[in-house]
Subunit: 556 residues, 2 copies
């Protein structure tokens, strides 16, 4: 998982390169067909049988979900189905999990969770509504994929079932939100959920409906026509526009070097010796488009979309490929007014499907920061553009440091934070609150004061006093204070930092989403370390060997 | 942690046996003085210096909190303070943690968390309001103890500070709700919380107030008088009665044998070979008291209070001393009507301080089941009394099995569940909902139907249909089905069961309490297993040795 020691995991792909998924359009419906190539695993040593998946399969799924939103505005309902006969999806590949490092398992589950949440975001906010048509067994991660859909259909062929067999079979938990979605989304009665999660073979037929595990079962003979009818019926509920033309998400403008990744508007400088990276996000080079049509014409070159994609890729790259990097310094460069102009443009044109998509993409990218197990420190210096949407980078950070005034000989604007309406609703965190609402949970008056300052550049001590930055330093202190802070931060236990950050970032209400990343993920990570799962006699290690696991029966 | 291999941990104590705490009454105020005996550790090999604590210290604290409620109705404000000069409390003893098994650490944190929540329950619901007077350093668990109080006072002597130094010093998280209370109770801004949790020496003086870490700082010269004044001022807010006489909590009527613990109304039969225990709770032997005064005269012999205490002790005993027991079968025996009569008596007299206390005690005991890492299975058989409050035992269980009708030759009443008003509000779970509300989150109509059946015995298939039990079996199936279920359950990985149960039991809203037991505890358990904390080069292992820990810097 470290650059240099193993192949880079690349989160970019496109349909021409897919090995595991197909998009089959049918008017206002698209079928998203899972047809995993057993030989297409991301690493050696396992076969992706029975539509089981690894991170590579999910990278394609994530790509497909994004493209359906941007490239297919005409699609109002997406049907996830299997391209194989009599099998829907066997879940995460167990041999892959058995061989993977703890870090890879955790990172894999995080990404698949984000993809499931992106599917729910598409249904809820893009009105590109996902349904799932289960023809065959949907086990473990297969059923968890189905759970991300708004409507689950199961074929009634006396064989096909839904199941979460992780606990009885593998001594681990379903790792992609299954338990939380069963209790909190499907609202399955807890004792039934307990029974369901203990049955290897799962539950099928009308009982699956009665237990709220699926929404309907359909006889085999009427399967295809019923799925199609339901999809078109659900498509009719969508508010997506008629006759719109999608944009194309081209490959990113990205150069990778040994200690640097460069995009058109994002730079990543890697300092492995010190265990830190500097991510610099550049503001728009141009003014806002003259019209909505002009924005459409820019397509993926429109600055907010470019930044959302590039920053997302940078974050995913760091997570997967730079495990020893503990600290991310977040910087911005550019003209704050240009960022604010783009915010205003996006807000004004929010009725437009594409601009809505772009805002939702920005929201999702920022959420990826919230759940990234690295310490984020925003550096707010002269020439930066922490304004509006980009100010969220400071609010998403664990700490932010501002330079008071300017540096000698630097004629650029003093460092400032400038708020826009985008900081007050467009980019909620997983807990349903904005980052400023979460930040000022104990000081609602400060939130009101901050809102009153929308549009003004808030500098230095003023920003610190208003609580928008952690601390503001004069020029003669800034570098020393930062150096000490970084030395300290990188000396701490990375595990303790991860746990601390996961707890401190999400004050206030919990949602299904924060439950998944907080409660469920933490328990799963705990179990992923237990000898009963991963020891030489553990269930995950021995799966498929014909040898039964030996458990230490002490309850903890 | 297994009976036989190490000394039994006993959760019963009384003030005459305290080695670490004193209760000093002062009219409507009581000082709860922490003065830990360094030589009074629960095990060998560590000294409880600087008011640091182990499970034994917390067992006394829990006892004191209970007794203050029942034995001192006149006390309206409790001041937690230190009996040592210039030190408040150094938190959990680090050498103890360094030597303890993973299981002991987790169990220790669970119990201390419950005690802190019991303090908050006393402030909120018994109006015996806790404040904390910090004279000296309050570090780690010391500050976490303070965080359980409604009002935190800190002496301003240029030395005394509050701190959560676990992360920088020990590479673990504060284990007793500290992070959650900082963000969600004190509502400290997240970046300040991040800084605070990184500073070994903590924060003192007016900055501690500004950062919302304490409520007031008081100059040394005015310390005693200000604490006293504040305590009496807060006491005046309480609704506790004047001139009431407390009752005495006598030692439990308890016999311990090798494979059995017997109380007056609770039996625990231990089957270590099969990894299960049977806990039988007996209903009241007598009718309700003739009056509130008569109930007071019964004191701790009044059935609901007896049962709350005995069941609590049984649960705590199993957790601490029977680690290899994975399954708890919950049974009841007695007259359902007598239970319902007691429920009605408690409800009618809820204005009385003692009866209010008893209901709150029942609530806390049931909550202990909710967070106990064992599989609970309720067996609802003829002659049982799963009525009202005792029906909560079935609803707190992971599964419940009812026998349809009666067994041959058994002339007792068929098995039934009978609901009372107590099932609809008196005993909320940590998530703020009743167990039935949580159970029927997806079927609100069923909740209405259940409420309409208050007072009627709901038997067999009827109870299963209404969703009050998991399953109802005819006599000829019951034993076989149960045997198969138990064989299956005890064959699963105990870790996976613990994680699964912790996720399935708490559908619906999250509260500070569920966040502590879900999110925070799970992360802490994860970190408690990481080599960076507990390995030979880990921070917890090396603390005090003069050797710095060596971390694997990979972020997970």
């Amino acid at each position: 998982m470290h650059a240099g020691s193993s192949p880079i995991i690349d989160f970019q792909t496109d349909p021409a390169r897919y090995r595991h998924w197909r998009i089959e359009p049918d008017g206002d419906v698209a079928y998203l067909v899972m047809d995993v190539d057993p030989a297409g695993g991301l690493s050696e040593g396992y076969e992706l049988k029975l539509n089981s998946y690894d991170l590579g399969v999910d990278i394609e799924l994530n790509d497909a979900v994004q493209r359906l939103r941007f490239e297919h505005p005409e699609v109002r309902c997406v049907v996830i189905k299997s391209g194989k006969d009599n099998v829907f999806c066997a879940g995460a590949n167990i041999r892959m999990l058995g061989k993977a490092t703890h870090g890879h398992k955790v990172n894999f589950c995080k990404f698949t969770n984000e993809t499931r949440l992106a599917i729910e975001d598409a249904s809820e906010n893009s009105k590109q509504i996902y349904i799932c048509a289960i023809n065959g067994n949907a086990a473990g991660g297969g059923y968890e994929l189905a759970l991300s859909a708004d409507h689950i259909m199961l074929v009634d062929d006396r064989r096909s079932a839904v199941a979460l067999p992780e606990t009885p079979l593998l001594a681990v938990l379903p790792g992609t939100g299954g338990l939380t979605r069963v209790t909190d989304k499907r609202k399955v009665r807890r004792d039934r959920a307990d029974v369901f999660c203990s049955i290897e073979e799962g539950i099928r037929g009308s009982k699956a409906v009665e237990w709220r595990l699926v929404d309907e079962v359909v006889p085999n003979s009427k399967w295809k026509e019923t799925v199609s009818a339901r999809a078109h019926e659900i498509a009719a509920r969508s508010d997506r526009p008629n006759g719109s033309k999608g944009i194309t998400l081209d490959g990113l403008d990205r150069q990778m070097a040994a200690d640097r990744v460069t995009y058109s508007h994002v730079d990543v400088e890697i300092d492995r010796l010190r265990g830190l990276v500097t991510v610099t996000v550049r503001g728009p080079a141009q003014g806002v488009p003259a019209s909505i049509e002009a924005a459409h014409a820019l397509g993926d070159k429109f600055w907010p979309l470019t930044v959302a994609r590039e920053l997302e890729d940078a974050i995913l790259h760091l997570r997967a490929n730079e495990a020893t990097i503990g600290v991310v310094l977040l910087r911005t460069e550019g003209n704050p007014q240009a960022v604010l102009d783009h915010d205003a443009f996006l807000e004004k044109a929010n009725g437009d499907w594409l601009l809505r998509e772009i805002r939702l993409y920005l929201k999702r990218t920022l959420k990826r920061i919230d759940v990234t197990p690295r310490s984020f420190i925003a550096l707010i210096e002269p020439g930066s553009c922490f304004a509006g949407t980009l100010a969220e980078l400071a609010f998403a950070s664990d700490r932010s440091i501002m330079l008071v005034g300017t540096r000698k000989g630097d004629i650029r604007q003093p460092a400032a934070i400038t708020l826009s309406a985008a900081n007050f609703g467009a980019c909620p965190m997983g807990n349903g609150l904005t980052r400023l609402e979460t930040r000022f949970l104990g000081e609602p008056d400060t939130l009101v004061q901050a809102k009153a300052r929308i549009g003004t550049a808030i500098e230095g001590e003023d920003a610190a006093e208003l609580g928008l930055v952690t601390v503001a330093y004069e020029n003669f202190d800034f570098d020393d204070e930062l150096r000490v802070m970084l030395e300290e931060r990188t000396s701490f236990s990375p595990d303790a930092m991860t746990g601390m950050e996961a707890n401190l970032r999400f004050a206030g209400p919990e949602t299904m989403e924060t439950k998944i990343f907080g409660r469920l993920t933490a328990w799963q990570n705990w179990i992923f370390q237990r000898p009963n799962a991963i020891g030489e006699q553990g269930a995950l290690k021995l799966y498929g060997s014909g040898v039964s696991p030996t458990f230490n029966n002490e309850r903890v």
